[in-house]
């Protein structure tokens, strides 16, 4: 058995990272292709999303808005949609910020895909304004505000508006150099629009420094605002609407599972772009491998955070905690919980644990898609529980409210509005080039394939 070469379960020959052997002109052409001409698939998708969006708006008006702001329960699925969109399209830009901060070399073709979702944030913003009106005064019930003036409406709204504005600013700043490219290269039809957007960006050293700083600061600000907003949403829209629930970990749980689905969304988007978006030259194993690793890590964290909450309640066994366990995990909403558990934890774990699968492309994408589906059920579980008809002045949950079963309108609302938000993301692709021309081009110089004695290695430059 000295050095057997026969049997193999594990091969250490991994594919080298891709060196984009593309001329810069090619990247410009690829980036501007969708701006010059969308293509049939793109147009079809856009129309579909538009129809869905209209359906969603109709369902929104026909259902909750007509029911009025008196009761919370009819608004359950508005909240579910809101939570889902906040957790997915809201958190995707955070991924791009994080990879920029740690200077991941694989990030360049991915970043833009994550940022672009910030464009859809207008949908959750509108839903937020509809929902925040439902929140009762903080007097006589428990909340993090302790009777602070203007709470919860004013401060929640301020945070939310700041987040959305910051998201758009971040997307715009990160895309500004590409707007300049589009202004000069996209052709006469687009000149005017992009000239306005690019604001005379010429690419001087000074301007590049400003862009670098701007992207970094806005990005960090976005993440901070995002975590803050999610904390407040988790506390005002979920915790404080369930009597007796002061689970301090929940805002963190809510944020972590949002990050998980943000990565999932990016993975799925990247998968679609590779498959149909003509980005196969940019998005390669390396990207999916790295994203898959993150997806796995966040999937494990999902379990960790939920487990932590569960085990404390299980040990506590006070009537309050028993009631909460029943309501949120094992009572009326056991089915959504089980689905979320399977899709947000078991699926990434069992799929992405294997390096072989992570090294492939399909595996991470499938895992991402499953996480997104799981996320819907997670939101359904949370908001159905917190939007039940319960007297908020109760100190503890004395009875377990029955499960809220969605009607057709609720489902249409969810699907429609999510479709609408996706449509916004698609429209953005018409304005913001993908792949990010300046970033991918900048990465060209920092990668080289070099012969090294009997092999060939990929060398990655780290200018910092």
């Amino acid at each position: 058995m000295a050095s057997s070469h026969g049997t193999t379960t594990h091969n250490w020959h991994r594919p080298l990272p891709k060196v984009w052997d593309l001329p810069p002109q090619r990247i410009v052409a690829d980036g501007l292709r969708r701006i010059r001409e969308g293509g049939a698939t793109y147009r079809l998708l856009l129309i579909l999303c538009a129809i869905l969006g209209v359906v969603g708006v109709v369902a929104l008006i026909a259902g909750p808005v007509l029911a009025g702001w008196g009761e919370r329960q009819p608004w359950t699925y508005v909240a579910v949609t809101f939570g889902f969109l906040m957790s997915t399209i809201g958190s995707a830009p955070c991924l791009s910020v994080a990879t920029r901060l740690v200077r991941s070399h694989w990030r360049r073709p991915v970043n833009r895909l994550a940022e672009i979702w910030a464009a859809g944030m207008i949908v959750p913003l509108i839903l937020f304004f509809l929902l925040v009106a439902l929140l009762p005064n903080t007097e006589g019930r428990y909340s993090v505000w302790f009777g602070w003036w203007g709470a919860p409406w004013l401060w929640d709204s301020l945070l939310m508006v700041a987040l959305v504005v910051c998201g758009y600013a971040f997307l715009y700043t990160a895309a500004m150099p590409d707007m300049a490219v589009a202004r000069d290269q996209a052709g006469p039809n687009h000149n005017g629009r992009f000239a306005r957007l690019a604001r005379g960006f010429r690419g001087s050293v000074q301007e590049w420094r400003t862009i670098d700083r701007g992207v970094a600061y806005l990005g960090v600000l976005y993440v901070l605002l995002y975590v803050g907003t999610m904390t407040i949403i988790a506390s005002d829209f979920i915790l404080s609407l369930i009597p007796g629930n002061n689970s301090a970990i929940f805002p963190a749980t809510y944020t972590v599972q949002a990050f998980e689905s943000g990565i999932a969304l990016t993975l799925v988007t990247a998968g679609i772009m590779r498959w149909r978006g003509g980005a196969a030259d940019y998005l390669d194993r390396e990207q999916f491998f790295a994203l898959g690793k993150l997806q796995l890590a966040l999937g494990l964290l999902w379990f960790y955070f939920h487990w932590t909450e569960f085990i404390i309640w299980w040990y506590g066994r006070t009537p309050r905690e028993t009631a909460l366990l029943k309501l949120l995990y094992f009572g009326p909403y056991f089915v959504p919980f089980a689905i979320a558990f399977a899709l947000m934890f078991l699926a990434p774990l069992s799929i992405l644990l294997w390096t072989r699968i992570r090294m492939g492309i399909a595996g991470p994408i499938v895992a991402g898609a499953l996480v997104l589906v799981g996320q819907v059920f997670e939101q359904i579980r949370l908001y159905s529980a917190s939007f039940s008809n319960v007297d908020l002045r109760l100190r503890e949950l004395d009875f377990i409210p029955t499960a809220y079963v969605p009607g057709v309108w609720d489902i249409l609302l969810l699907v429609g509005l999510v479709g609408g938000a996706i449509g916004l993301g698609l429209v953005t692709l018409k304005v913001v080039p993908y792949p990010s021309i300046w970033e991918v081009t900048g990465g060209l110089w920092l990668r080289a394939r070099k012969p090294f004695y009997k092999t060939e290695v990929v060398v990655i430059g780290k200018p910092e």
Binding site: L16, Y142, T231, A248, A252, V459, I460, G461, K462, E464
Partner: protein, 457 residues
Amino acid sequence: MQERHSHSNERIIRDLLRPVTQTSMMNWVGFIVLGALVTAFLFVIAWMFYWGIGVSGLSRPNMWGFMIVNFVFWIGISHAGVMISAILRLTQAEWRRPVTRAAEVMTMFSLVTAMIFPFIHTGRPWRTLYWVFPYDFWRGIWPDVRSALVMDPSAVFTYLTGTILFVYVTTIPDFALLRDRSTGWRHGLYRVLALGFKGEERQWKIQIISGFLLAAIMLSIFVSVHSIVSWDFAFSLDPVWHSTVWAPYFVIGAVHSGVSAVVTLMAIMRWMFKFDDYIRHEHFDAIGRLLVVVGTTWMWFFLLDIFFDLWRQDPADDAIMHIRFFEWPYPLLLAFVWIFGYFIPVPIWAFRRFRRNIKLMFWASIMVNIGMWAERYWLVIPGLQAKYQWTFDWTAYRPGPVEITLVVGSFAFVGFLLLLFAKLIPPVPVWDELEGKHLAAEIQVGKRTVPAIVREF
């Protein structure tokens, strides 16, 4: 900006082996001073064994005191090793190379130190074996797995075993190096420890891949260890302690203090062993950036914990919060937590200029650990002091001289072990540094030579 050195193999090896081959004056001073403190530490433990827990300052509501706080603190410090070496190994961060060994060894020794405390703080330490190990087949005295105190040793023991194996495995190549360069009893020792490692290509590959595997596994242990430590408190029904957020909060706090301790260690190594070429400004820079993120996350959890404790406006919780915020010495400790643990060091680390100032980094990291020690005290002790709403048993905890000696001694103990270890094993992994040299490359972009790294996957 990286400041890579271009030393020859021989120079690197000689430099990095210096702590092992030469004993400086500072070393002797360290040995003697720390040795004296360690003697006091051991004496006090013996004293407490002989007389019982009565010699400590513990009293009836305050059944847990300095020893438990210190236990949590050292477990926290131990989280540095894996954080640095596992996460950075998995993300292939190049700047991990000079700091991994020191961080892992610190993990090992701080874990050993931490484990001393729950052991000596029991009433009958000579009977604690059946607490930890399910071995007593004939008396039928099993540990109760429902107790957090059984999970705790299982986690710490797992972590310690894993760390020791991890340190050993990553040191095998260095043992081989030392084997080839030593004589006498040292040669015999290193020969055995090196296991006949020859540096075959296959052995290197296995070394690296097992490094990844172990890193991934250790990371999972790492998260569980401090979570379980936090559950020692949070599983109880005590107000303020019984909080769902404590597990991740403790973990991130542990990372905060542990990584800061690594910074302290890096600065000391740089000064003591003249590792200026290996532990460079860029390393402090990178670790400082990491600490900004970690520290801010920790602050977020800290605030979550406070806000959601106050949330229910439960009289028991509020009473303890009142003590925490307004009663001596807790406001002072809280000031330490905030000022030393966060508001001085973290904003400083936001600036690159300060991150590259080693003296500043050193003091900032010391500050963080003062703050984090205070944080553990602030979190744990007041929870007991006033947890009974309707009895007249409230009393503040006053640590006795025995406990203070224990705390001071524990720091000396870790320092002593670290010094001792540096005489035996090079504190910076030599082979890792050499690998970094082999993988280093450059890319020419116009007039700029960009330092680059060979990426294999």
